[in-house]
Amino acid sequence: MLNFLKNRSASGWLMVSPLALVLVFFLVLPIIMIVVVSFWRATEFSIIPAFEFDNYEFLFSSPVTYSVFLNTFKYALITWVFTLGIGFTVAYFLAFHVRTQTWQIALFLLCTIPFWTSNIIRMISWIPFLGRNGIANSALISWGVVDEPLEWLLFSDFAVILALVHLYTLFMVVPIFNTMMRIDKSLIEAARDAGANGAQILWNVIIPLTKPGIMIGTIFVVTLVMGDFITVRFMSGSQSANVGRLISNDIALLQYPSAAATAVVLLLTVLIVIGILLRFVNIRKEL
């Protein structure tokens, strides 16, 4: 026993085993379970263990699947554009324009305040703001900008994307800020010494050096948005769908095999997207 403990590789295995066990039981096994169930057969009233491709066949033959996946990509892309724009700007301001570390920390914590409440509350709080007789509409009418309440403010794609951007921008700010803080300030001076103006420094020095952070933020936002279902349901007033909603509807109807098949396809899609993203930027040195 003592010999066993002294063995370096054995103690190494012992040390990784708690995390490995947690991952095996709570990540790997459930995924295997989902994959297995996705091949089962389901009728209106029963689920029968089997190995057949009916669920996948139905999924790929239905036009709904394609339009829902397309919609999911649309949400992901538009949300990504806005979170990146806002996230980069905020991180840039914090990293390069706020001089003292105290203020950097204070303002950074300010960014996290929305996270002190749950997702659902943050989402629902938009409803009285955006509704037909909500604050936004009454303000616009009283300023004379519009004559009638705007219908598309709530229960629309606009509302969905607004809520998604609100929920996930911080996931973009944090990794970008982290990468920016590691940029040696003397590089900026060196660029200025070489005659670069502000925009040139941003384009030629800061953005290339921030790419790994942008990529990590992108992975966060894309996976979160593609897996989201509750935001889409609440903010679209059940009028739009994404893949997450497809799965949750199947589950509500106890169609587990079909839900599992959709989940497997979604998982593969997200993994392919991440795989493509990682081809562009090497994030290894950030980890």
């Binding site: 660029a191 005659g195 050096l209």
Partner: protein
């Protein structure tokens, strides 16, 4: 010292950070084509002075004049200076060639032309073979040469170097300083080099400017500053000197200008408190009146012809002209 209209001149240059004064009304004229070292301990204001010349620090008061024009308010790239940074500040995502060509790219020079110019510069620092590498793949000495090429491609009138050798190991430091000196002589432009190492300054500089507590303590040719320190600080900082208080005042005298004789035949008597063999010579520490320690360096063959022991009474002797009166 002859002055030329193309000199770099500091006129009462001051830098204040809140209540602290980093550089206090410094006046100096850097001769054109000279290698000048700004020498001093950390926090003496030498780096702030350099950064004000470069334009990376604003001048609180006073003016920086280069070739007759006041450059103190101009952006760094418009001053006719270029800076080489302490840890080189090479762009890690750009190849050696792109690093060197960076300033030309910023000016909008065509790729073909700027790469040709960069190749010229890399040839000058002997790095042509490595132009496609990233900075991470280079040794410290090679990185330094890239930084040098990047600074020189802007054709500056004055090259500013901020502790350029401090990131290198001692062996490489001595080799690179010889290269710096050679390059400066080939190019014939002014170099202003900040360092805290007096040996580095002595080895490189035509002129040494010793700074302490935000002011210039002494400036002059390297040999003059070393041999004839004006203040106690300079004498101690340059090393190799004794500072002694005699009835006529305080003086600095080089350790190797003090010889040993029999008691009561020298200028004054002393008791040996330490004997240290240093290779080429032997350092003998002895105590004179007023509890002052004096170190004398004796060539080793002279010492071993007539060895001395701890506690022995001896006489110390020197030429009166080797004493330099200190003003502070």
């Amino acid at each position: 010292m002859t002055s030329s209209p193309d000199d770099l001149e500091l006129v009462s240059v001051t830098k204040r950070y809140g209540d602290t004064i980093a550089v206090d009304a410094v006046d100096h004229r850097f001769r054109v084509g000279a290698y000048t070292c700004l020498l001093g301990p950390s926090g003496c204001g030498k780096s702030s002075t350099l950064r004000m010349i470069a334009g990376h620090e604003t001048v609180t008061d006073g003016a920086v004049i280069l070739a007759g024009r006041d450059i103190s308010q101009l952006p760094p790239a418009k001053r006719g200076t270029a800076m080489m940074f302490q840890n080189y500040a090479l762009f890690p995502h750009l190849s050696v060639r792109d690093n060197v060509a960076f300033s030309l790219k910023m000016k909008g020079v065509e790729a073909k032309e700027r790469f040709a110019k960069a190749a010229e510069m890399l040839e000058l620092v002997d790095l042509t073979a490595l132009s496609d590498r990233l900075p991470d793949q280079l040794s410290g000495g090679q990185q330094q040469r890239v930084a040098l090429a990047r600074a020189l491609i802007t054709r500056p009138q004055v090259l500013l170097l901020d502790e350029p050798l401090s990131a290198l190991d001692p062996f490489l430091r001595i080799r690179m300083r010889a290269e710096l000196r050679k390059l400066q002589q080939e190019l014939g432009i002014s170099f202003v080099h900040v360092t805290h190492g007096q040996d580095e300054a002595l080895a490189l500089a035509d002129e040494i400017v010793v700074m302490n507590n935000a002011v210039i303590e002494q400036a002059g040719p390297a040999r003059e500053v070393f041999n004839a320190p004006k203040t106690e600080f300079v004498a101690r900082f340059m090393g190799g000197h004794n500072v002694v208080a005699l009835p006529e005042g305080r003086f600095a005298i080089r350790a190797d200008a003090i010889a040993l004789t029999k008691p009561e035949t020298g200028v004054m008597d002393a008791a040996i408190t330490g004997v240290e063999f240093q290779g080429m010579h032997v350092a003998i520490t002895s105590r004179i009146t007023g509890d002052q320690e004096v170190t004398s360096l004796i060539a080793d063959h002279l010492f071993y012809e007539n060895p001395r022991n701890l506690g022995e009474r001896i006489g110390l002797t020197w030429d009166a002209e080797k004493l330099h009166k200190l003003t502070a």
